[in-house]
């Protein structure tokens, strides 16, 4: 299942959200909308990969632990495809080892749930600066 709250025109960068938890998919697009981003939510990594919005996506907010393809699997897959979308990992599991690994693999930020709106905004700004 995916949903999108896109702003018309190009001034609203598209942020893709991939998380198997419904409450994240419900709440995060509203917040990002308040920040002025267009969003598109996916319940799994596979959905995101098969969608047609990879090219438009300026940033990926990605859950780590998901059934099937995990967040890391997706990160690896995107790298293999030569797709350099900046990734912000979010995880309910507070595991520093996993966080460090993700950052080494090129993630822009790794936020533990629950995270504050300012931390997320800061990460998004960083990600968009990178590109």
């Amino acid at each position: 299942m995916n949903s999108s709250k896109e702003k018309i025109g190009g001034e609203h960068p598209l942020v893709a959200i991939v998380d198997d938890d419904e409450s994240v998919r419900e709440s995060l697009p509203d917040l990002l909308g308040e920040f002025g981003f267009a969003t598109h939510s996916f319940a799994s990594a596979e959905e995101f990969l098969t969608s047609d919005c990879l090219a438009q996506t300026k940033c990926l907010v990605l859950d780590v632990a998901m059934p099937g393809m995990t967040g890391f699997d997706l990160q690896r897959e995107l790298k293999l495809r030569g797709c350099g979308i900046p990734i912000i990992f979010i995880s309910a599991q507070k595991d520093e080892i996993i966080r460090r690994r993700a950052l080494q693999q090129g993630a822009v930020e790794f936020l533990f749930k629950p995270f504050s709106d300012t931390a997320l905004l800061h990460a998004l700004n960083t990600a968009l600066r990178v590109t």
């Binding site: 409450s23 994240v24 419900e26 998901m66 629950p114 504050s116």
Partner: protein, 705 residues
Amino acid sequence: MTVQLEHPADEIKRLQRCINDLVSLLALPAMWNGSKPSDIVHTLRDSLLRMLDLDFVYVSLPNLVDAAPSETVRVAQSREHMFRPQEISAFIHRWLGDAPQKSFLQERGIIGDEEVSLVSWPLGVQRGIGVIVAGSHRTDFPRDTETLLLSIAANQALTGLQEARLLSEQKHVADELDQSVAQRTAELAATNELLRNEVDERRRAEEALVATQRNARLIVDRIPGLVALLTKTGQVELVNPQLVEYCGRPLEELKSWGTSDTVHADDLPRIGQIFAQSIASGDPYDFEARLRRFDGAYRWFQVRGLPVRDADGRILRWCSLLTDIDERKRAEDALKRSEAFLAEGQRLSRVGSFSWRVETGEITWSDELYRIFGFERDVPVTLELIGSRVHPEDIPLLHDMVEKAQAAVGDFEYEHRLLMPDHSVKYLHFIAQGIRGHDGRLEYVGAVQDVTQRQYSEEALAKARSELANVARITSLSMLTASIAHEVNQPLSGIVTNASTCLRMLTLDPPNVDGARETARRTIRDGNRASDVITRLRALFSRKDAIVERVDLNDAAKEVIALSLSEFQRNRVILRCELADGLPVVTGDRVQLQQVILNLLRNGSDAMSTVDDRPRELVIRSERDGDDRAIFSVKDAGIGIDPQTIDKLFQAFFTTKNDGMGIGLSVSRSIIEQHQGRLWATRNDGPGATFSFAIPFTADTASNT
């Protein structure tokens, strides 16, 4: 003196007679040659009496050896009525005793009633030999011719006596010599006889000895044993053929037994010492040693040695008898080994054995039983003694047992305790079998096992099991931490995000009230979700020890399922719940039962982690089994159970998982068994396995529902 003239013819006659007498006197020494002094004295006396027509003659030879009698008196036959020899002797003693020792004396005196003339003439210088006294009643005595004749007779007698004396002395010496020769000869003869006797005796003794030795030899050669004769210093002197035959070695080789391999090298130092001590002290020796047989095999012998002593107790030699005791020794060893095995077995298994003759009260204990009871080995065992160790609370058991045992033959089995002096308690398991002997007497034979360790082990096991269950719970919880955190953090994340959005929407100008309301509503929903998670977690964390309560298995299962959902989701497990409605409650520890359910769910999920060709379906089912129990089962479509390991599944630390601890199923089973239930595994008809447990319903609820 008046000289009376005589007639010439008479004178001539008288002179002629004197000459004849002189010739006779001069012939005397020839007659006396070799005569004894007494013979000389007799001849002299008689000759003088006849020649001089004397009344008597007295001769005394006090200083002449062998001249007894030393004093003789001869009275002329015609005068015997006039003189008595004693009177004559007494007179002469008086007369000569007064006079000094003159060579010639004359006297006129009265002897008896007669007046006589006496003349004494010495024999030898100063009467060195003796004296001659002649007496006559004639007043003209002695006339000149008579004096002459007397002096010549005295001289002749002196010569004769001296020769006789010499002869006598020579004879005496010769006699003494003869005598000592004879004595010496006799002594030598006697000695000779003794020697001969001794030689005879020795010969006889030697003959007897030879005969004895021959007999001994015969006995020794035929004796059913090995015999060796040793010198008094212990050197082998002689052995019987049996010994030579046994060892397969000649006597000469056997002599050096102390340095050869005839005696087993392990025995040699020991018996060498015993042997040397015996030889030194003279005490008999008796020892056991292995001797090499001709074929090199060593056999056990009893070696006994006795000293052979002579009459004075001196050791002549040693006689050594070697008896083959190999069979006996082996039997003894086997017996000892068997006894040692038994004792060791009893010690290891802490089992003691006993026999009890009921009528006599005679009780025999094995060593181990003494050890178990803590009594000294030599203490006589009585029921009182046993009673003194039995735990006071178990004394009635003992009395009961004794009564029953005395009443009838039977087998019985008891468990009772001992209270040891150090206040420790021992648990004994006691089994006895009654038998009647040939004499009809009742005897109990039995075994007593010290099961204290087992008892303590069981207690410790129960404790360990409970601890293990706790560990398992904690372990499961720690494994669940990830999903718990996930469960809690997910709603929290939603709450925080929604609240942030809500705030931002309200701060807009104009405020987005509808949006804010929607985000607030989601905030509340996520808050409740978080609260539910916390409530369920509290149930798992809050209790430690097993508690007994009424448990609805379906509710318990639902809680566990709710906690595990995210994990199932992650593992792409499709859950199907088939929980029976109206299932009666069971009695037990809710959390422990949830542990079991959780364990079964996790196992089922893990078993399917590599399955990709079919749905990862997990069926959770609860159902009634008759009126008295519930069955709860978890069926997976996983890799299934290897038939070879199905028996090991419930053993602690058995696991088919790389990251598993392997205590899940064994702990689960012990939990279910503590609930009077049963846990088992079956292979599905299709893929995978089903794990099930059955638990009885709480008694008062089963029939009502």
